[in-house]
Structures are given as C-alpha cells and as structure tokens.
C-alpha cells in the first residue's frame, strides 16, 4: 500500500497561441486580423493530488484511487465585445479562475480460479467537476453558451421551459393568459418568464445546462476457461444535457431543409388531443420553438457494451497432421448493446439528422496458423 500526495504549480501552454500580445493587420486591406493584448500573461495551474495505491493478494488485485484539485489561474478567454466597436475578432484576456476537482479510481485484477479458469478485469471510473471561480466582468455569453461565475465551463445558455403551451393557457379568443412569445399558439414551447417582466424576452435566458458529463467509466473483462475465452469492454457516462437539434427536433421546417417527420415523430407531436406530447405542434415556420431552451434537453447518460468476443483456441493433434499448427475460431460484436434514454440520436456521436450514427458490427472468424 502506498499513499501519495503531490502539489505543483506550472504554466499552462496547451491551447495558448504565440504572439497574442500583438495586434496584426492584413497586408492588403489594412483590416485588423488578430487583436493582441499587451498585458496578457500565461495561465498558471495549481495542481494538488492525493492518491492511494493498494496491492492485495500478492498484487493480483491492484487498486488506484486519486483525488485532485486543480485551480487554473488567469485562464485565457475571449469575452464577447459590443458590436458597435466593429471589431473583426475578439481579444484574449486573463479572465479568471477555473477549478477542476474530481477523483479517479481504477482496479486491476489478474488471477486464476482453480486450474482452468483465468480471470482479469480492469474497471475504471472518473468524476470531474469544473467550476468557474471568478470571471473578469462576466458573464460571457455567445448565443448558446455562457461562462459565468459559479457555473461550469461552457454551460448552455437559453430559456427554461415548462413543457408545451396548452389550450388552457389561452382564453376563448386565443389570447394568452400567461406571458408567451408573439404568435405563440397551443402546442408551442412554454417558456418561463424568469425575469418576471410579464413578457418572454432575452432577459429570461440564463444558464440552463451542462453538455459535459461529469462521470465517465469503462471496464475491461476477460475470462478464459480451458480453450475458451470471453472478453468484453464496457463504457459509459453519467448525465449530460444533450440538445436535440435539426430535423429530429423540428422536421418540416421549411426555412431549413424541410424534412419528413419520422414515424416516431408522427406519434409524438402535440395535438389538442395529445396534450402531453414529446414534440411541439407541427409547423413549417417554427421560429418560436427554435430558441435555445431546456425543452430540447435529453439525458445523455448511457452504458454501452463496446466490444464482446468469444473465442476458441485449439492446437489439436488431428490438425497438425494436416499441417495446421493452431486454430482460433471466434465471434465478436461491436456496440451490440446500449442502455440509454436517447431515442433519436446515438449517445456517443449525438449530432443531428446528418450525423452518421455509430454502427453495430457482428463478425465471425477463423484464424489458421500454418
């Protein structure tokens, strides 16, 4: 057993470009191409780590656990600027502090059970939480992301929602009884007036989610019995906010590529009868429903069997007689099983209707050694 502890401070130069203090211009038009900041300094990372290594049963079982706390000072960000300055780009500044805390654990076991069975497994899990500790004149918002103190790095910016508007949200003449966007009808997304100014507008937007999962895990297993061996690899993540987009969210949007609704969509869009629908009403101009909002969030958590293989090896004498020194017969499958709440996109590749999902593959094979 070993207990480790370390602390270090170093300059962070990954993702940091050269010459960022200089403003440069285009040699033909004189237009500014990059904006420098003469005050710019490097990022400093303060990293502390406490770890524990345990070896049991003659080191057949190894356990490694780490806890870390990493504080990056003077992170370089490019805050949004008023357009009225007419800048061609943004300016790097040492904007604040970012803290990453988390732990990692992995187990490694190699052993035999009895004479014929050998087992090895190697699971691992990581958990990372990041938080912007301080931010110079924040928050920084750019359309759908927000950096703000106390929030995660790269949080999602948009409206909070409470399902869909129902006919009961409107009076007999179709006038809304609650704050809604202009032109909103039953079956459109019900945005919440969190600023309390009785209208739905830009001030109702806030930090609504985090697209990065904090928890990640994987596991490798291998069991062999006599000539047989079975191997598989698992991987997965905890909850993250995955935004459903494009035709999958709003088919028939004539302003984009249009798109025919899927069968699934046809059974799940809002109608006056189907009030607890998963999707808004059908609309060829869904301007109101396209805003960034948590309505389109799905839980990105998943667990997937990435790989599984069953094999049989033989070096039988009967084969040797016909000139074969060894033979391996195997079947394997890639991505055969996935547990996920995502119905329309693959949890690993995510994306929209143009994204080619991750394929399942089933392979059977024979290896012959001559």
């Amino acid at each position: 057993m070993k207990l480790r502890a370390s602390y270090g401070q170093l300059g962070n130069e990954s993702d940091v470009d050269l010459y960022q203090y200089q403003t440069t211009i285009n040699s033909g038009s004189g237009l500014e191409t990059t904006y420098g900041n003469p005050e710019l300094s490097w990022e400093t990372v303060n990293m502390s780590d406490v770890g524990l290594d345990i070896g049991l049963f003659n080191n057949k079982l190894e356990i490694v656990v780490d806890y870390y706390n990493k504080l990056t000072k003077d992170i370089i960000l490019r805050p949004p600027l008023s357009y009225t300055g007419g800048f061609e780009g943004k300016v790097p500044v040492n904007a604040g502090k970012l803290r990453n805390t988390g732990w990692e654990a992995s187990v490694n076991y190699n052993g035999n059970i009895g004479k014929h069975v050998s087992v090895s497994f190697r699971p691992g899990v990581t958990y990372n939480k990041n938080e912007i500790v301080s931010l110079l004149s924040g928050p920084y918002v750019s359309s759908t992301t927000i950096q703000r103190e106390g929030g995660p790095y790269g949080g999602i910016f948009g409206y909070k929602t409470a399902g869909l508007l129902q006919e009961s949200d409107f009076d007999k003449d179709g006038n809304p009884l609650i704050p809604v966007l202009p032109g909103a009808k039953p079956g459109d997304i019900k945005y919440l007036d969190i600023s309390g100014n009785k209208i739905i507008d830009g001030s109702d937007q806030t930090l609504i989610g985090n697209p990065i999962a904090r928890l990640n895990y994987f596991a490798n297993f291998r069991v062999a019995y006599k000539n047989f061996d079975l191997e598989f690899l698992l991987q997965g993540t905890g909850k993250s906010d995955v935004v459903l987009a494009g035709m999958l969210a709003l088919p028939m949007d004539n302003s984009k590529d249009g798109g025919v609704p899927t069968r699934f969509y046809a059974d799940n869009y809002w109608t006056p009868q189907r009030t607890n629908a998963m999707f808004p009403r059908l609309n060829t101009l869904p301007t109101n429903n396209k805003l960034s909002s948590d309505f389109w969030f799905q839980n990105g958590a998943y667990m997937r069997v990435k790989y599984i293989q069953l094999g049989y090896n033989t070096q039988a004498d009967c084969l040797k007689r016909i000139g074969i020194r060894g033979l391996r017969v195997y079947v394997n499958a890639q991505n055969p099983i996935t547990f996920s709440k995502l119905k329309l996109t693959d949890p690993e590749s995510q994306g929209d209707q143009w994204t080619y999902g991750i394929m399942k593959a089933f392979i059977a094979g024979i290896n012959v050694q001559l």
Partner: protein
Amino acid sequence: MKKIYAVIFSAVMLTCSSCEKFLTHDDPVSVTDDNWWKTEANATGALGSVYAGLPGGSSGRQLMFLSALSDEAVARQDTRGAYEAYAKGLQNSSWDVALSLWQDDYKDIRRACRFLENVDRCYMDSSLKDRYKYEARAMRAYYHMEMMLFFGGIPIVTKSLEPANSNTTRNSEKEVYDFVVSELTECAPHLPDVYNNNEAWRISSGVCWALIAKLAMFYKQYETAKVAAKKVIDQNVYALYRSTNTKVNSFAELFTYAGELNKERVFFRDNGCSNAWRTFAPYGVGGQTVVSPTMKVVNSFETLQGRTLQELGPDSLAVYQKDPFYKNNRDPRLVASVLVPGQIYEKDTLRPFASEGSDRIGILNSTATGFWVKKYLDPKDRNGASPSLDYMIIRYAEVLLNYVESLMELGDWQNADVIKHLNDIRTRAGMPVVDVVKYNTQEKLRQLIRRERTAELAFEGARFYDIRRWDILGDVMNGQVYGAVDPATGQPVLVETRSCNVQRDFRYPIPLNELLANPKMTQNPLY
C-alpha cells in the same frame, strides 16, 4: 582573478538589463499598423475595405429582400434570412437579419475610422489623400444612416474604439439624423461630381445629396429633401436611361447587362446582383425564387392607358387579376418586373398551378405566390460563367420621385417640375404622360406619386421605408396575402397570414448578443 569576476559580473548585468527586450520577440512575419500605412497603395486598399461593406441587391445585405417585409412580396427559405418570420410578426432579438446588419455596418464604420486615423502616415498625393478622407467620412455617415432607418437612434461612432472601452450608448434619433446630414453636407463639396467609369462606384457629391434626400423623406423633412434632391438634378450629371435600341423597353433594359453602364445609377454596388438569377429566377430555369411578388403589387400597376384597375371596375379587375398581361395592356414596368403564370420565359412555360413540374407553387425553391420577380434577371446569367450585374442602391428615378413628392407634400404640387419629372419617368417606361385634368388636387397627386413609386421601384426595397413613412405599415402588413389566381377555384391563392404590431415592427430589434455584451445598450420598444 578579481578582474575576471568583474568582467563576468558586468557581462551578467548587461544581459539582464536587456532581459525584457531579449524575451520579447515580435512575430517576424506579422504586419502591424506601425509598419504598414506607408504608400498610396496602402491607403487605396484600406479605403477599398470601407467600400466592401456596401449592400447588394441579392447578395450581402440583400436590399431587394426588403420588399418581402412589405406588401410587395413574400420570402421563403430562411437560410437567406428569416424575412418570412418578420412579416408574420414572429421575429425576436435573435432575428438574424438585424444581427448581420448591425454587425456589418459597425465593422464598416470601424474600417472608415481606422482609415481616417491612419491615412496621414501614408506618403501620397495630398489632394488624393484629402479626397479619400472625405470619401471615408461620407461612407461612415452612410453606414450610420443605413442602420438608423432600421433601428432608430443608434450609437454614433467616430473613432476606432478600444476593446476595453467599447460599450457605447445609443444616441437619440435626432442626433444621428443631424450627424448624418451634417457629415454628408460637409463632404459633398469636396467630392467629385463624376468619377472615371472604372471608379464610378465611389461616393460622389451627388450620392451625398441623394442620401440626404432619402433620409429627410423618411423623417418627413420635406424642405431638406427638396433642396438636396434639387442639387442632384441641377448637377446635370444624371439622366434616366434611354436605350439606343428602339425595339426594346428602356426600363426593362436598365436592369440587364445591356443597360448596366448608364447615367441613371447614382450609387451602386459593383456585382451587387451577380447572384440575382440564382436568387429570383423560376426553379425551372435554375433559380431558387427566394422572393415572390404578391397579387397586390401586380394589381397596383396601371393599364397602358394610365388607368388603375380600381377605376376600371370589378369586372375588368377580375380579368386583369386572372391574366395580368391581358392584351398586353399593362404598364410595361409590370412586364419588366414580374413573371406571371402561363408566361413562357427562357423556353420554360411557367405553370405554378400544374400538378407537376418544377414551377409548381409552394414547392421548395419555387414561387410561393405564382408570380416571380423579373427585375435584375438577365438570361445571360442562366449559365453565365462569371455573373457580374451591378445593383443600383440609388438611381436617378428615385431622386426625381423624392423631389416631386417633397414638392407635393410642401404644398407646391402645382410646381411645373412635378409633372415634368413624372412625365420623364413615365414616358421612359413607355407610359402616357400624366393626365393633368384628372390629377388636379394635392391629394390626387399624392395618390399618383405613391403609385408611381411602387411601379417604378418595385422590388428595389423602397417600399419597406415608404409604408413606414406614409404611416400605412399597420394597414398593409396585417391580414391575408394573396398570390395569382388559381384556375381551379378562379380565386387568388391564399399565401400567408401576416401580423404586424406597428409599435414594435416599425423597428428592427437590437440584437440579443449586443445587449448581452454591452450593458449600456437598450432594446427597442416591445422586443
């Protein structure tokens, strides 16, 4: 030994004192303001980037698409800007068209400011340098003016702002108006009346006066408008285009390559309609028909005898509605501006109501109304290798119309200039002169002048401003929009239902990203 230490010590000291410089290495290939602004070529290049922001008709800021924010036309395909949403009252502070306009114009303003701040470092002919400076100032005023017509009061920016100090507040509408007028007034006398043909796109004195007239009309400052427009007229530089080929209609030819180099263009964007074919032409001949004319605009053109369809009565109206070119008896400007059902265009018979074919109404890339915009379509662009049609941001006909309208509004409607210029415009297009017996009061003349603007300037974006300054925005932008007559029903086809809240929709929304980045910015009413 001591000596050696001393030498080493002093050597170390010397090195350290220059440590700061030793560690600072400028990018060896970078170009900065300090080492660039040197020659006339630099100044010309930098000024070119100021002009690069000029809007086009079907490209850039797509001025012709503004007609889809009026009762002239409807737009489809939001990939070219969500104009349809605005017409239906669904736009919000994330509306893309307002964002790109706001972003572009302030970039152009910064370019002009930087030019003015740095050009004195260039070694060049001083009279040319002076002219360049006035060009940059006038262009900067133009970009302010372009924005204020959409947003109202905006921040006036007259120097290149420091990133750390770039949060501006809005100036009042009056302040921006006064700024634009005084800048253009000051620049005009220092700018040439005419440039060489290959530099005709530059801002001239005539452009400055024409811009003042346009701006003043928007704010009903008719005296200012009249004086400015008259200055353009008195320059005797411009004239309505009249083709040398007697077999063609001069008005129709004006918007094609044959009429491209003309004396009518006051302010134009080089190549500003180079993608007009792809944008407006019927799908059957390779276009995408982003903008489609409405029944209302088609009906507003007079007959060849100078009579309105309303004057002719309901029976005739029905006939012309069904067949807008009935007996070839319509204002030639309608034929030059619109393609209609049944017409054969480029060997393609336009059949919006057929059950199949590329030109069916409502299908992707086809007309939304059964009509098509013909202005700025030149068949040469159909398979043209390098389309290059220019777009006239202001042409002389608009200056004349501003002039006669300001005279009329000032009560001077009997001024001989009114009829003279209206007749000039009408006869150029192949229409009869104004019937002075019929149009014998200020109100009747007002109707005529307004109709004349629609016929002359259709799909050039003018009506977006006109329905605002004539206070008819709410009247014309609410309710049903109709297209061509569907032979199956005998009725005009219903295209869409519009909604307009005048208090809000008079102005574009200030972009959300601006409000988020700049706490001093304020939003327009009701957004």
